[in-house]
């Protein structure tokens, strides 16, 4: 019964009228995704660019995994790099020392990451605020030191290099292309999963936990269960991304790629600048940070007065810019452009679409759901049955 209504819903959405009603940003996103999917085959994307995009995809996956738990349930973790490391190092070590097949190793790495997720999730039920921040900040820092102490086994700051690749396809260019599609598929899968969960009723419960645990409890839901669920799912996604990453040509199980504090900082900034707690914002912010830094590193313009090329002090400048962005565009790029876009639309359409001044979705505008407010009517048909199962 639920299925037939679901089919009906999907049909209605995919009908000509339904497609016409879909907001413009869905089309923009679709064009962007199709562009990325066709880039290497039809678009003549160079091998180097493909490898860079592959790295960018993995970075975005890391950002997504953080945004899902921090942005929605408000369990702000400063140690998500632990999950990537758990995934990446487990599979690399299994492969290098025991000769385990990468596919099996990735599975094992994901399981270890899930366990480390529990390690965060259980104290997070009791701790809040500063204590949770400190508690999550520590494990990666301890791990870095342990890796240095046992550098005979872990490779120290160089990490475990060259585990067997997951995909091998002839020459270098073909190999890069295969890995590009692997990363792209994984990213699309993770994005779709997180997007669906956060736009479902489960997502509403997670958002409600961020706002008030008591309110969630009094509505008959168990906040602890959802907190643990979201943290562990986030760890699984982060661990999976980290594990696959080390088996591609662009990644290796090393502190600088999986564990360092600066990586964590970039992830935090990507999610916040893109739009904290929106999933879509994490995607945009992740790409923005990755390509922004890449672009700045390539700038050869020599700054006057200090006589230094921009590229050499790129990290410094970039963090300065990000700091300003965080201050002056606190809501994030995506929610901001969504708001601006709506304003333009309302001008074009002669004020048919009212714009709420607080940035949320205007009342009664069914097809203008807010990115941040999760008023996504599109998912209600499917989410109803989901939440019914989830709540008990």
């Amino acid at each position: 019964m639920a299925d037939s209504s679901l089919v009906g819903e999907v049909r209605a959405r995919l009908s000509w009228a339904g497609l016409k009603r879909a907001p413009i940003r869905y089309y923009l996103a679709a064009v962007f995704l199709v562009g990325l999917a066709l880039g290497p085959t039809l678009g003549g994307m160079g091998t180097l660019l493909m490898l860079q995009w592959t790295t960018a995809f993995f970075f975005v996956m890391f950002v997504l995994s953080w945004d899902f738990v921090a942005g929605y349930t408000g369990q702000v973790s400063f140690g998500h790099t632990l999950f990537f490391t758990a995934g990446g190092y487990t599979t690399a070590a299994l492969n290098l020392y025991l000769g385990v097949d990468p596919l099996l190793g990735i599975l094992a790495g994901t399981v270890v990451a899930a366990v480390s997720g529990l390690f965060f999730a259980l104290p997070a039920l009791r701790l809040g605020g500063h204590y949770l921040a400190l508690f999550t900040l520590l494990p990666p820092l301890i791990l870095v030191r342990i890796f240095v102490i046992f550098s005979d086994y872990t490779g120290g700051s160089g990490g475990l290099s060259n585990p067997e690749p997951l995909l091998e396809a002839g020459d270098f260019a073909a190999n890069a292309q295969a890995n590009y599609y692997l990363a792209f598929a994984l990213l699309v899968g993770i994005f779709a999963l997180l997007w669906t969960i956060t736009r479902s009723d489960t997502g509403r419960i997670l958002t409600a936990i961020r706002e008030s645990t008591d309110a969630v409890q009094s509505s008959g839901f168990n906040p602890a269960k959802y907190k643990v669920y979201s943290m562990v799912l986030s760890a699984v996604i982060g661990g999976l991304a980290g594990a696959v990453f080390v088996h591609t040509p662009v990644g290796s199980a090393s502190p600088s790629q999986l564990l360092d504090l600066s990586l964590m900082l970039e992830i935090l900034l990507a999610s916040i600048i893109g739009g904290f707690g929106t999933i879509t914002g994490a995607l945009v912010g992740g790409l923005f940070i990755f390509w922004g830094l890449d672009w700045l590193e390539g700038v050869e313009y020599v700054l006057p007065v200090i006589q230094t090329p921009v590229g050499e002090i790129a990290t410094l400048l970039f963090f300065g810019v990000l700091l300003l962005l965080v201050y002056f565009l606190e809501e994030g790029i995506l929610p901001w452009s969504y708001r601006q876009g709506n304003r333009v639309l309302s001008l074009i359409r002669g004020g048919q679409r009212p714009v709420a001044t607080d940035g949320g979705a205007p009342d009664g505008a069914g097809d203008a759901e807010g990115v941040a407010s999760h008023e996504d009517s599109m998912d209600q048909g499917t989410a109803g049955s989901d939440a019914g199962r989830d709540s008990q």
């Binding site: 702000v76 500063h130 204590y131 400190l134 520590l138 102490i149 916040i272 410094l316 700091l323 965080v326």
Partner: protein, 294 residues
């Protein structure tokens, strides 16, 4: 007889080292915990004040001003930095936990990065405050380290007198207990917060000088003591100055013992592990208020 003599000499030596290390840790932790007590934030840029302290002294010496002027610069520059940090960056976002942590983490990263670019990754040597040394009861003590130790304790003792005996100090204590209550009885909140940031920055800078003289000045000298300060503050109870002095000694002794008797590479690890256990088992620490755990 010499067989029994040597271990006891060794133990005394370890104890002396532990006391020196603890004084250094206390300097860093006190500032961190004071800021926490007053404005309820985790100031990760506290590590940047340590770096600035070390490099201010280094530049003063480079300019030929001598290490004593350098020592003064090592206190004043970080104090000013800390004030500006609060005034410009922290104040607008001080009620948003995550934003404060991210902002101060960016500031720490930027300062590290700036010194790494300008000064490279090498270690820069600071001259000793005083030369020479002596041996008392089989324990060798350099005058330089003794001066640093005494100066650290003068700073800590002075702070205690300041906090307990002066009006501004009592105002700091008051705000730390209840901001609203203190403001109601006429405390200028802004002034108290600025004073706290200034003092914290100055103490951290002094610690930076201390570290610079004993181990050299490097671009990444701020993070390690900052992490140790976390551990100390958690053990002592967040916001408690007395707790952080006690915590500094606990951590200082544990650090010295593990690095001397177990493995020198364990620096920092034992403190961090202890801290994680304490956060889970006893979040309020030794002298903290349980109410602070949310």
């Amino acid at each position: 007889m010499p067989g029994t003599d040597e271990p006891s000499g060794m133990i005394t030596q370890v104890l002396v080292n532990a006391l020196l290390l603890s004084a250094l840790y206390a300097l860093v932790a006190i500032g961190f915990t004071m800021i926490f007590g007053i404005v309820d934030i985790l100031n990760l840029a506290h590590g940047a004040a340590i770096i600035l302290g070390g490099f201010s002294a280094f530049y003063a010496v480079q300019l030929g001003l001598g290490i004593w002027v350098g020592g003064l610069a090592a206190i004043l520059v970080p104090a000013l930095f800390s004030l500006l940090l609060y005034w410009i960056l922290v104040k607008p976002v001080q009620h948003k936990n995550t934003m404060v942590i991210i902002t101060t983490l960016i500031v720490l990263t930027m300062i590290e990065e700036a010194f790494r670019i300008v000064e490279g990754t090498g270690s820069h040597v600071l001259p000793s405050l005083v030369a020479g040394g002596t041996t008392i009861g089989g324990v060798s003590i350099q005058y330089n380290r003794a001066v640093l130790f005494v100066a650290s304790w003068l700073a800590i003792g002075g702070l205690f007198i300041f906090i307990n005996r002066t009006w501004l100090g009592q105002a700091i204590q008051g705000v730390s207990m209840s901001t609203r209550g203190s403001v109601l009885v006429g405390v200028d909140h802004e002034k108290v917060v600025l004073a706290t940031f200034g003092i914290a920055g100055g103490l951290a800078g002094w610690a930076g000088l201390f570290m610079g003289i004993s181990q050299g000045v490097t671009w990444d000298m701020g993070l390690e003591p900052l992490l140790i300060a976390f551990a100390i503050v958690v053990i002592g109870g967040m916001g408690s100055i007395k707790g952080s002095v006690v915590g500094a000694h606990i951590i200082g002794v544990i650090e010295t013992v593990t690095t001397t008797y177990v493995d020198a590479r364990l620096t920092g690890v034992s403190a961090l592990v202890i801290m994680m256990i304490i956060i889970v088992a006893m979040p309020q620490g030794l002298y903290g208020q349980p109410g602070e755990v949310g």
